[in-house]
Symmetry: D2
Subunit: 138 residues, 4 copies
Protein backbone atom coordinates (compact mmCIF):
# COMPACT_ATOMS: atom_id res chain seq x y z
CA UNK A 1 0.00 0.00 0.00
CA UNK A 2 2.02 2.91 -1.40
CA UNK A 3 5.60 1.70 -1.61
CA UNK A 4 8.68 3.91 -1.45
CA UNK A 5 12.28 2.84 -2.01
CA UNK A 6 15.55 4.45 -1.08
CA UNK A 7 19.21 3.50 -0.92
CA UNK A 8 21.99 4.38 1.48
CA UNK A 9 25.39 3.10 2.57
CA UNK A 10 26.24 1.83 6.05
CA UNK A 11 28.53 4.39 7.70
CA UNK A 12 31.67 3.34 9.56
CA UNK A 13 30.28 5.18 12.58
CA UNK A 14 27.31 2.82 12.48
CA UNK A 15 29.32 -0.36 12.96
CA UNK A 16 29.98 -1.93 16.34
CA UNK A 17 32.70 -4.30 17.50
CA UNK A 18 30.78 -7.30 16.13
CA UNK A 19 31.87 -5.86 12.76
CA UNK A 20 28.31 -5.18 11.60
CA UNK A 21 25.85 -2.28 11.59
CA UNK A 22 24.80 -1.75 15.21
CA UNK A 23 21.21 -2.90 15.72
CA UNK A 24 20.14 0.37 17.34
CA UNK A 25 20.90 2.30 14.15
CA UNK A 26 18.07 0.63 12.25
CA UNK A 27 15.65 3.00 13.99
CA UNK A 28 17.43 5.79 12.07
CA UNK A 29 17.42 3.80 8.85
CA UNK A 30 13.69 3.15 8.82
CA UNK A 31 13.04 6.76 9.83
CA UNK A 32 14.80 7.82 6.62
CA UNK A 33 12.40 5.44 4.85
CA UNK A 34 9.36 7.23 6.33
CA UNK A 35 10.85 10.60 5.39
CA UNK A 36 11.32 9.54 1.76
CA UNK A 37 7.88 7.88 1.72
CA UNK A 38 6.34 11.25 2.64
CA UNK A 39 8.54 13.11 0.13
CA UNK A 40 7.33 10.74 -2.60
CA UNK A 41 3.76 11.87 -1.83
CA UNK A 42 4.91 15.39 -2.67
CA UNK A 43 5.05 16.24 1.00
CA UNK A 44 7.74 16.40 3.67
CA UNK A 45 7.93 15.67 7.35
CA UNK A 46 9.70 19.02 7.77
CA UNK A 47 6.60 20.81 6.42
CA UNK A 48 4.38 18.76 8.70
CA UNK A 49 6.28 20.08 11.73
CA UNK A 50 6.09 23.60 10.31
CA UNK A 51 2.29 23.14 10.22
CA UNK A 52 2.51 22.33 13.93
CA UNK A 53 2.08 18.57 13.69
CA UNK A 54 4.65 16.05 14.85
CA UNK A 55 4.72 12.28 14.60
CA UNK A 56 6.23 10.60 17.66
CA UNK A 57 6.54 6.81 17.74
CA UNK A 58 4.48 4.70 20.09
CA UNK A 59 5.88 1.37 18.91
CA UNK A 60 9.06 0.19 17.22
CA UNK A 61 9.49 -3.44 16.25
CA UNK A 62 12.49 -4.75 14.32
CA UNK A 63 13.45 -8.27 13.29
CA UNK A 64 17.11 -8.87 12.48
CA UNK A 65 17.59 -11.69 10.00
CA UNK A 66 21.09 -11.04 8.63
CA UNK A 67 23.63 -8.36 9.48
CA UNK A 68 24.47 -5.35 7.31
CA UNK A 69 28.14 -4.48 6.99
CA UNK A 70 30.19 -1.32 6.65
CA UNK A 71 29.88 0.36 3.26
CA UNK A 72 27.10 -2.01 2.15
CA UNK A 73 24.69 -0.28 -0.21
CA UNK A 74 21.30 -1.08 1.28
CA UNK A 75 17.84 -0.78 -0.23
CA UNK A 76 14.99 0.11 2.08
CA UNK A 77 11.36 -0.46 1.10
CA UNK A 78 8.75 1.40 3.11
CA UNK A 79 5.03 0.71 2.87
CA UNK A 80 1.95 2.09 4.53
CA UNK A 81 0.34 -0.81 6.39
CA UNK A 82 -3.19 0.61 6.54
CA UNK A 83 -5.19 3.79 5.96
CA UNK A 84 -4.13 6.14 8.78
CA UNK A 85 -6.46 7.88 11.26
CA UNK A 86 -5.09 8.84 14.68
CA UNK A 87 -2.19 6.48 14.02
CA UNK A 88 -0.05 5.77 11.02
CA UNK A 89 1.65 2.40 10.61
CA UNK A 90 4.57 1.62 8.34
CA UNK A 91 6.29 -1.61 7.38
CA UNK A 92 9.91 -1.84 6.30
CA UNK A 93 12.12 -4.29 4.45
CA UNK A 94 15.86 -3.80 4.16
CA UNK A 95 17.91 -5.58 1.50
CA UNK A 96 21.61 -5.72 0.68
CA UNK A 97 23.14 -5.64 -2.81
CA UNK A 98 22.65 -9.40 -3.19
CA UNK A 99 18.89 -8.88 -2.70
CA UNK A 100 19.06 -10.68 0.62
CA UNK A 101 16.40 -9.57 3.09
CA UNK A 102 18.33 -8.36 6.17
CA UNK A 103 15.70 -6.80 8.34
CA UNK A 104 11.96 -6.31 8.63
CA UNK A 105 10.29 -3.76 10.83
CA UNK A 106 7.09 -2.01 11.75
CA UNK A 107 6.44 1.32 13.43
CA UNK A 108 3.30 2.93 14.81
CA UNK A 109 3.27 6.70 15.06
CA UNK A 110 0.67 9.15 16.33
CA UNK A 111 -0.20 12.62 15.11
CA UNK A 112 0.38 15.21 17.83
CA UNK A 113 -0.47 18.93 17.90
CA UNK A 114 2.84 20.57 18.80
CA UNK A 115 1.16 23.45 20.66
CA UNK A 116 -1.18 21.46 22.87
CA UNK A 117 1.06 18.36 22.90
CA UNK A 118 -2.16 16.31 22.47
CA UNK A 119 -2.85 13.53 19.97
CA UNK A 120 -4.97 14.51 16.98
CA UNK A 121 -6.38 12.79 13.94
CA UNK A 122 -4.30 12.83 10.75
CA UNK A 123 -4.53 16.29 9.10
CA UNK A 124 -7.19 16.25 6.33
CA UNK A 125 -4.84 17.48 3.58
CA UNK A 126 -2.45 14.63 4.28
CA UNK A 127 -5.20 11.99 4.37
CA UNK A 128 -6.50 13.34 1.05
CA UNK A 129 -3.08 12.95 -0.58
CA UNK A 130 -2.80 9.42 0.78
CA UNK A 131 -6.29 8.46 -0.41
CA UNK A 132 -5.60 9.87 -3.87
CA UNK A 133 -2.29 8.02 -4.10
CA UNK A 134 -3.92 4.75 -3.02
CA UNK A 135 -6.70 5.25 -5.59
CA UNK A 136 -4.21 6.03 -8.37
CA UNK A 137 -1.91 3.12 -7.65
CA UNK A 138 -4.64 0.47 -7.42
CA UNK B 1 12.78 -13.41 37.12
CA UNK B 2 16.11 -11.92 38.21
CA UNK B 3 15.68 -8.16 38.24
CA UNK B 4 18.47 -5.63 37.76
CA UNK B 5 18.20 -1.87 38.16
CA UNK B 6 20.39 0.95 36.94
CA UNK B 7 20.21 4.72 36.59
CA UNK B 8 21.49 7.13 33.98
CA UNK B 9 20.87 10.64 32.73
CA UNK B 10 19.58 11.56 29.27
CA UNK B 11 22.46 13.18 27.35
CA UNK B 12 21.95 16.38 25.36
CA UNK B 13 23.27 14.48 22.34
CA UNK B 14 20.36 12.07 22.73
CA UNK B 15 17.64 14.68 22.31
CA UNK B 16 16.03 15.48 18.97
CA UNK B 17 14.19 18.56 17.77
CA UNK B 18 10.96 17.38 19.41
CA UNK B 19 12.81 18.33 22.60
CA UNK B 20 12.81 14.77 23.97
CA UNK B 21 15.13 11.76 23.99
CA UNK B 22 15.22 10.43 20.42
CA UNK B 23 13.31 7.16 20.20
CA UNK B 24 16.18 5.34 18.49
CA UNK B 25 18.43 5.84 21.52
CA UNK B 26 16.33 3.53 23.68
CA UNK B 27 18.05 0.58 21.99
CA UNK B 28 21.25 1.83 23.65
CA UNK B 29 19.51 2.40 26.96
CA UNK B 30 18.12 -1.10 27.25
CA UNK B 31 21.44 -2.55 26.10
CA UNK B 32 23.03 -0.88 29.14
CA UNK B 33 20.33 -2.64 31.17
CA UNK B 34 21.36 -6.06 29.80
CA UNK B 35 25.03 -5.26 30.47
CA UNK B 36 24.31 -4.40 34.12
CA UNK B 37 21.99 -7.40 34.46
CA UNK B 38 24.90 -9.66 33.48
CA UNK B 39 27.32 -7.78 35.73
CA UNK B 40 24.95 -8.32 38.67
CA UNK B 41 25.26 -12.07 38.06
CA UNK B 42 28.99 -11.66 38.65
CA UNK B 43 29.60 -11.91 34.92
CA UNK B 44 30.15 -9.45 32.09
CA UNK B 45 29.25 -9.27 28.45
CA UNK B 46 32.86 -8.29 27.75
CA UNK B 47 34.05 -11.63 29.19
CA UNK B 48 31.44 -13.48 27.16
CA UNK B 49 32.93 -12.05 23.96
CA UNK B 50 36.43 -12.91 25.22
CA UNK B 51 35.17 -16.52 25.56
CA UNK B 52 34.20 -16.33 21.88
CA UNK B 53 30.47 -15.94 22.34
CA UNK B 54 28.46 -12.96 21.16
CA UNK B 55 24.81 -12.09 21.60
CA UNK B 56 23.29 -10.42 18.54
CA UNK B 57 19.64 -9.33 18.63
CA UNK B 58 17.00 -11.01 16.53
CA UNK B 59 14.12 -8.89 17.78
CA UNK B 60 13.73 -5.44 19.33
CA UNK B 61 10.34 -4.21 20.46
CA UNK B 62 9.79 -0.91 22.25
CA UNK B 63 6.61 0.83 23.41
CA UNK B 64 6.85 4.56 23.99
CA UNK B 65 4.33 5.75 26.59
CA UNK B 66 5.79 9.10 27.69
CA UNK B 67 8.88 10.97 26.56
CA UNK B 68 12.12 11.27 28.50
CA UNK B 69 13.76 14.70 28.53
CA UNK B 70 17.29 16.05 28.57
CA UNK B 71 19.08 15.57 31.90
CA UNK B 72 16.25 13.40 33.30
CA UNK B 73 17.60 10.83 35.72
CA UNK B 74 16.02 7.60 34.50
CA UNK B 75 15.70 4.23 36.22
CA UNK B 76 15.83 1.14 34.03
CA UNK B 77 14.59 -2.22 35.28
CA UNK B 78 15.75 -5.27 33.34
CA UNK B 79 14.30 -8.74 33.87
CA UNK B 80 14.92 -12.13 32.33
CA UNK B 81 11.63 -13.19 30.73
CA UNK B 82 12.31 -16.94 30.73
CA UNK B 83 15.01 -19.52 31.29
CA UNK B 84 17.35 -19.13 28.28
CA UNK B 85 18.41 -21.89 25.89
CA UNK B 86 19.41 -20.93 22.34
CA UNK B 87 17.74 -17.57 22.91
CA UNK B 88 17.70 -15.18 25.81
CA UNK B 89 14.77 -12.81 26.29
CA UNK B 90 14.75 -9.68 28.39
CA UNK B 91 12.01 -7.26 29.39
CA UNK B 92 12.62 -3.61 30.26
CA UNK B 93 10.78 -0.85 32.08
CA UNK B 94 12.06 2.71 32.11
CA UNK B 95 10.91 5.23 34.73
CA UNK B 96 11.58 8.92 35.32
CA UNK B 97 12.22 10.57 38.69
CA UNK B 98 8.46 10.90 39.29
CA UNK B 99 8.16 7.09 39.03
CA UNK B 100 6.23 7.48 35.79
CA UNK B 101 6.60 4.52 33.45
CA UNK B 102 7.98 5.98 30.19
CA UNK B 103 8.84 2.97 28.10
CA UNK B 104 8.52 -0.80 28.04
CA UNK B 105 10.54 -3.08 25.82
CA UNK B 106 11.52 -6.63 25.02
CA UNK B 107 14.52 -8.05 23.21
CA UNK B 108 15.37 -11.50 21.96
CA UNK B 109 19.04 -12.34 21.51
CA UNK B 110 20.81 -15.46 20.30
CA UNK B 111 24.09 -16.99 21.39
CA UNK B 112 26.57 -17.10 18.52
CA UNK B 113 30.02 -18.73 18.32
CA UNK B 114 32.25 -15.88 17.11
CA UNK B 115 34.59 -18.23 15.22
CA UNK B 116 32.02 -20.21 13.27
CA UNK B 117 29.47 -17.38 13.26
CA UNK B 118 26.83 -20.04 14.00
CA UNK B 119 24.11 -20.02 16.68
CA UNK B 120 24.83 -22.14 19.73
CA UNK B 121 23.05 -23.00 22.97
CA UNK B 122 23.73 -20.80 26.00
CA UNK B 123 27.17 -21.69 27.48
CA UNK B 124 26.77 -24.11 30.40
CA UNK B 125 28.64 -21.94 32.92
CA UNK B 126 26.29 -19.04 32.22
CA UNK B 127 23.14 -21.18 32.46
CA UNK B 128 24.40 -22.55 35.78
CA UNK B 129 24.83 -19.05 37.20
CA UNK B 130 21.35 -18.10 36.01
CA UNK B 131 19.78 -21.25 37.47
CA UNK B 132 21.50 -20.70 40.82
CA UNK B 133 20.40 -17.07 40.92
CA UNK B 134 16.80 -18.01 40.12
CA UNK B 135 16.87 -20.70 42.84
CA UNK B 136 18.31 -18.28 45.41
CA UNK B 137 15.90 -15.47 44.67
CA UNK B 138 12.72 -17.59 44.77
CA UNK C 1 40.55 26.63 36.92
CA UNK C 2 37.49 24.95 38.48
CA UNK C 3 37.86 21.23 37.88
CA UNK C 4 35.02 18.75 37.66
CA UNK C 5 35.31 14.97 37.47
CA UNK C 6 32.86 12.32 36.37
CA UNK C 7 32.90 8.65 35.47
CA UNK C 8 31.04 6.61 32.89
CA UNK C 9 31.32 3.30 31.06
CA UNK C 10 31.81 2.90 27.30
CA UNK C 11 28.56 1.53 25.85
CA UNK C 12 28.58 -1.34 23.37
CA UNK C 13 26.66 0.94 20.99
CA UNK C 14 29.62 3.30 21.09
CA UNK C 15 32.15 0.83 19.72
CA UNK C 16 32.98 0.52 16.04
CA UNK C 17 34.47 -2.33 14.03
CA UNK C 18 38.00 -1.34 15.09
CA UNK C 19 36.88 -2.75 18.45
CA UNK C 20 37.22 0.59 20.27
CA UNK C 21 35.01 3.51 21.21
CA UNK C 22 34.17 5.32 17.96
CA UNK C 23 36.04 8.64 17.79
CA UNK C 24 32.89 10.63 17.02
CA UNK C 25 31.34 9.68 20.37
CA UNK C 26 33.89 11.69 22.32
CA UNK C 27 31.90 14.83 21.48
CA UNK C 28 29.11 13.32 23.59
CA UNK C 29 31.52 12.31 26.34
CA UNK C 30 33.01 15.75 26.82
CA UNK C 31 29.53 17.29 26.63
CA UNK C 32 28.61 15.19 29.68
CA UNK C 33 31.72 16.68 31.29
CA UNK C 34 30.46 20.24 30.67
CA UNK C 35 27.02 19.31 32.01
CA UNK C 36 28.50 17.94 35.24
CA UNK C 37 30.89 20.92 35.50
CA UNK C 38 27.88 23.25 35.50
CA UNK C 39 25.96 21.02 37.94
CA UNK C 40 28.94 21.18 40.33
CA UNK C 41 28.55 24.98 40.34
CA UNK C 42 25.03 24.42 41.66
CA UNK C 43 23.62 25.17 38.23
CA UNK C 44 22.43 23.15 35.26
CA UNK C 45 22.52 23.50 31.51
CA UNK C 46 18.84 22.56 31.49
CA UNK C 47 18.04 25.64 33.61
CA UNK C 48 20.17 27.80 31.35
CA UNK C 49 18.00 26.82 28.37
CA UNK C 50 14.88 27.42 30.46
CA UNK C 51 16.22 30.97 31.03
CA UNK C 52 16.37 31.32 27.25
CA UNK C 53 20.12 30.93 26.83
CA UNK C 54 21.77 28.19 24.83
CA UNK C 55 25.42 27.31 24.35
CA UNK C 56 26.21 26.11 20.82
CA UNK C 57 29.77 25.07 19.97
CA UNK C 58 31.91 27.08 17.60
CA UNK C 59 34.97 24.85 17.88
CA UNK C 60 35.63 21.24 18.80
CA UNK C 61 39.17 19.90 18.99
CA UNK C 62 40.04 16.39 20.13
CA UNK C 63 43.37 14.56 20.33
CA UNK C 64 43.22 10.77 20.42
CA UNK C 65 46.21 9.27 22.21
CA UNK C 66 44.97 5.78 23.12
CA UNK C 67 41.68 4.03 22.44
CA UNK C 68 38.93 3.41 24.98
CA UNK C 69 37.29 -0.01 24.90
CA UNK C 70 33.84 -1.40 25.51
CA UNK C 71 32.82 -1.42 29.18
CA UNK C 72 35.90 0.56 30.22
CA UNK C 73 35.16 2.75 33.21
CA UNK C 74 36.48 6.15 32.13
CA UNK C 75 37.23 9.25 34.20
CA UNK C 76 36.67 12.60 32.55
CA UNK C 77 38.21 15.78 33.95
CA UNK C 78 36.71 19.05 32.76
CA UNK C 79 38.28 22.44 33.44
CA UNK C 80 37.39 26.00 32.56
CA UNK C 81 40.27 27.34 30.45
CA UNK C 82 39.67 31.03 31.13
CA UNK C 83 37.18 33.47 32.61
CA UNK C 84 34.24 33.46 30.16
CA UNK C 85 32.74 36.51 28.46
CA UNK C 86 30.99 36.05 25.12
CA UNK C 87 32.67 32.66 24.84
CA UNK C 88 33.31 29.89 27.29
CA UNK C 89 36.24 27.51 26.78
CA UNK C 90 36.67 24.12 28.38
CA UNK C 91 39.52 21.65 28.42
CA UNK C 92 39.07 17.91 28.87
CA UNK C 93 41.20 14.94 29.85
CA UNK C 94 39.91 11.39 29.66
CA UNK C 95 41.56 8.54 31.58
CA UNK C 96 40.98 4.80 31.78
CA UNK C 97 41.07 2.69 34.93
CA UNK C 98 44.85 2.34 34.66
CA UNK C 99 45.15 6.15 34.87
CA UNK C 100 46.32 6.25 31.27
CA UNK C 101 45.50 9.51 29.50
CA UNK C 102 43.43 8.49 26.46
CA UNK C 103 42.19 11.75 25.05
CA UNK C 104 42.54 15.50 25.45
CA UNK C 105 40.12 18.02 24.05
CA UNK C 106 39.04 21.63 23.99
CA UNK C 107 35.74 23.24 23.11
CA UNK C 108 34.70 26.84 22.56
CA UNK C 109 31.04 27.66 23.04
CA UNK C 110 29.09 30.90 22.69
CA UNK C 111 26.14 32.19 24.68
CA UNK C 112 23.10 32.68 22.45
CA UNK C 113 19.72 34.26 23.23
CA UNK C 114 17.24 31.59 22.15
CA UNK C 115 14.57 34.13 21.15
CA UNK C 116 16.70 36.41 19.00
CA UNK C 117 19.15 33.65 18.03
CA UNK C 118 21.93 36.22 18.55
CA UNK C 119 25.14 35.86 20.54
CA UNK C 120 25.15 37.52 23.95
CA UNK C 121 27.60 37.95 26.80
CA UNK C 122 27.55 35.35 29.58
CA UNK C 123 24.53 35.95 31.87
CA UNK C 124 25.60 37.96 34.95
CA UNK C 125 24.29 35.42 37.49
CA UNK C 126 26.38 32.68 35.90
CA UNK C 127 29.53 34.82 35.75
CA UNK C 128 29.03 35.69 39.41
CA UNK C 129 28.87 32.02 40.39
CA UNK C 130 32.01 31.30 38.35
CA UNK C 131 33.90 34.23 39.86
CA UNK C 132 32.93 33.19 43.38
CA UNK C 133 33.99 29.60 42.74
CA UNK C 134 37.34 30.71 41.32
CA UNK C 135 37.90 32.99 44.34
CA UNK C 136 37.02 30.22 46.80
CA UNK C 137 39.17 27.57 45.16
CA UNK C 138 42.30 29.72 44.85
CA UNK D 1 44.78 18.78 -3.64
CA UNK D 2 42.42 16.07 -4.92
CA UNK D 3 38.90 17.23 -4.18
CA UNK D 4 35.90 14.98 -3.65
CA UNK D 5 32.29 16.05 -3.29
CA UNK D 6 29.25 14.28 -1.90
CA UNK D 7 25.74 15.14 -0.81
CA UNK D 8 23.52 13.88 1.99
CA UNK D 9 20.48 14.93 3.96
CA UNK D 10 20.43 15.69 7.69
CA UNK D 11 18.51 12.88 9.41
CA UNK D 12 15.87 13.62 12.04
CA UNK D 13 17.85 11.41 14.40
CA UNK D 14 20.77 13.79 13.99
CA UNK D 15 18.95 16.85 15.34
CA UNK D 16 19.06 17.91 18.96
CA UNK D 17 16.71 20.06 21.01
CA UNK D 18 18.33 23.25 19.68
CA UNK D 19 16.50 22.27 16.47
CA UNK D 20 19.72 21.82 14.48
CA UNK D 21 22.06 18.99 13.53
CA UNK D 22 23.88 17.97 16.73
CA UNK D 23 27.50 19.11 16.59
CA UNK D 24 28.85 15.66 17.46
CA UNK D 25 27.39 14.18 14.28
CA UNK D 26 29.76 16.14 12.06
CA UNK D 27 32.45 13.59 12.88
CA UNK D 28 30.27 11.07 11.02
CA UNK D 29 29.61 13.49 8.18
CA UNK D 30 33.25 14.19 7.44
CA UNK D 31 34.05 10.49 7.76
CA UNK D 32 31.61 9.88 4.89
CA UNK D 33 33.60 12.51 3.01
CA UNK D 34 36.87 10.58 3.52
CA UNK D 35 35.16 7.36 2.46
CA UNK D 36 33.94 8.91 -0.80
CA UNK D 37 37.31 10.61 -1.35
CA UNK D 38 38.96 7.18 -1.28
CA UNK D 39 36.25 5.65 -3.47
CA UNK D 40 36.86 8.40 -6.05
CA UNK D 41 40.49 7.22 -6.23
CA UNK D 42 39.13 3.84 -7.29
CA UNK D 43 39.80 2.49 -3.83
CA UNK D 44 37.75 1.89 -0.70
CA UNK D 45 38.35 2.09 3.01
CA UNK D 46 36.68 -1.31 3.32
CA UNK D 47 39.38 -2.83 1.09
CA UNK D 48 42.08 -1.09 3.10
CA UNK D 49 40.86 -2.86 6.26
CA UNK D 50 40.68 -6.14 4.34
CA UNK D 51 44.38 -5.60 3.50
CA UNK D 52 44.99 -5.33 7.25
CA UNK D 53 45.41 -1.57 7.45
CA UNK D 54 43.19 0.72 9.48
CA UNK D 55 43.12 4.48 9.78
CA UNK D 56 42.35 5.69 13.31
CA UNK D 57 42.13 9.43 13.99
CA UNK D 58 44.67 11.22 16.11
CA UNK D 59 43.11 14.67 15.76
CA UNK D 60 39.65 16.02 14.97
CA UNK D 61 39.07 19.75 14.63
CA UNK D 62 35.74 21.27 13.61
CA UNK D 63 34.63 24.89 13.30
CA UNK D 64 30.89 25.52 13.42
CA UNK D 65 29.93 28.67 11.52
CA UNK D 66 26.21 28.17 10.86
CA UNK D 67 23.87 25.35 11.85
CA UNK D 68 22.54 22.65 9.52
CA UNK D 69 18.87 21.78 9.90
CA UNK D 70 16.75 18.66 9.58
CA UNK D 71 16.29 17.48 5.99
CA UNK D 72 18.80 20.03 4.64
CA UNK D 73 20.59 18.69 1.59
CA UNK D 74 24.26 19.32 2.40
CA UNK D 75 27.30 19.30 0.15
CA UNK D 76 30.57 18.13 1.65
CA UNK D 77 33.90 18.91 0.00
CA UNK D 78 36.86 16.81 1.10
CA UNK D 79 40.46 17.61 0.16
CA UNK D 80 43.80 16.06 0.91
CA UNK D 81 45.84 18.68 2.76
CA UNK D 82 49.27 17.29 1.93
CA UNK D 83 51.05 14.28 0.49
CA UNK D 84 50.59 11.52 3.11
CA UNK D 85 53.37 9.50 4.74
CA UNK D 86 52.76 8.05 8.22
CA UNK D 87 49.82 10.43 8.55
CA UNK D 88 47.08 11.51 6.23
CA UNK D 89 45.41 14.89 6.66
CA UNK D 90 42.08 15.93 5.22
CA UNK D 91 40.23 19.25 5.13
CA UNK D 92 36.46 19.56 4.89
CA UNK D 93 33.95 22.21 3.93
CA UNK D 94 30.23 21.71 4.40
CA UNK D 95 27.68 23.81 2.52
CA UNK D 96 23.89 24.01 2.56
CA UNK D 97 21.64 24.38 -0.49
CA UNK D 98 22.09 28.16 -0.44
CA UNK D 99 25.86 27.65 -0.88
CA UNK D 100 26.43 28.96 2.64
CA UNK D 101 29.55 27.56 4.29
CA UNK D 102 28.33 25.91 7.50
CA UNK D 103 31.34 24.08 8.83
CA UNK D 104 35.04 23.62 8.21
CA UNK D 105 37.11 20.80 9.62
CA UNK D 106 40.41 19.00 9.56
CA UNK D 107 41.36 15.49 10.58
CA UNK D 108 44.69 13.74 11.00
CA UNK D 109 44.72 9.96 10.71
CA UNK D 110 47.49 7.41 11.01
CA UNK D 111 48.03 4.15 9.16
CA UNK D 112 48.02 1.20 11.54
CA UNK D 113 48.82 -2.47 10.89
CA UNK D 114 45.75 -4.28 12.26
CA UNK D 115 47.76 -7.37 13.27
CA UNK D 116 50.55 -5.66 15.19
CA UNK D 117 48.43 -2.64 16.14
CA UNK D 118 51.50 -0.50 15.32
CA UNK D 119 51.67 2.62 13.15
CA UNK D 120 53.07 2.11 9.66
CA UNK D 121 53.81 4.27 6.64
CA UNK D 122 51.08 4.63 4.02
CA UNK D 123 50.91 1.43 1.89
CA UNK D 124 52.89 1.90 -1.35
CA UNK D 125 49.98 1.03 -3.66
CA UNK D 126 47.84 3.73 -2.07
CA UNK D 127 50.58 6.36 -2.22
CA UNK D 128 51.11 5.51 -5.89
CA UNK D 129 47.42 6.08 -6.66
CA UNK D 130 47.49 9.38 -4.80
CA UNK D 131 50.66 10.55 -6.57
CA UNK D 132 49.21 9.64 -9.97
CA UNK D 133 45.97 11.45 -9.21
CA UNK D 134 47.84 14.56 -8.06
CA UNK D 135 49.99 14.46 -11.22
CA UNK D 136 46.94 14.05 -13.47
CA UNK D 137 44.91 16.79 -11.85
CA UNK D 138 47.67 19.42 -11.87
Amino acid sequence: MILSEMQFRVRYAETDQMGVAYHGNYAQYIEMGRTEWLRNLGFSYKKLEEFGVMLPLINLNINYLKPAKYDDLLTLKTTLLKRPSARIEFGYELFNENQELLTTGQTTLVFVNMKTNKPIRIPEFLLKIIDQTIATSS
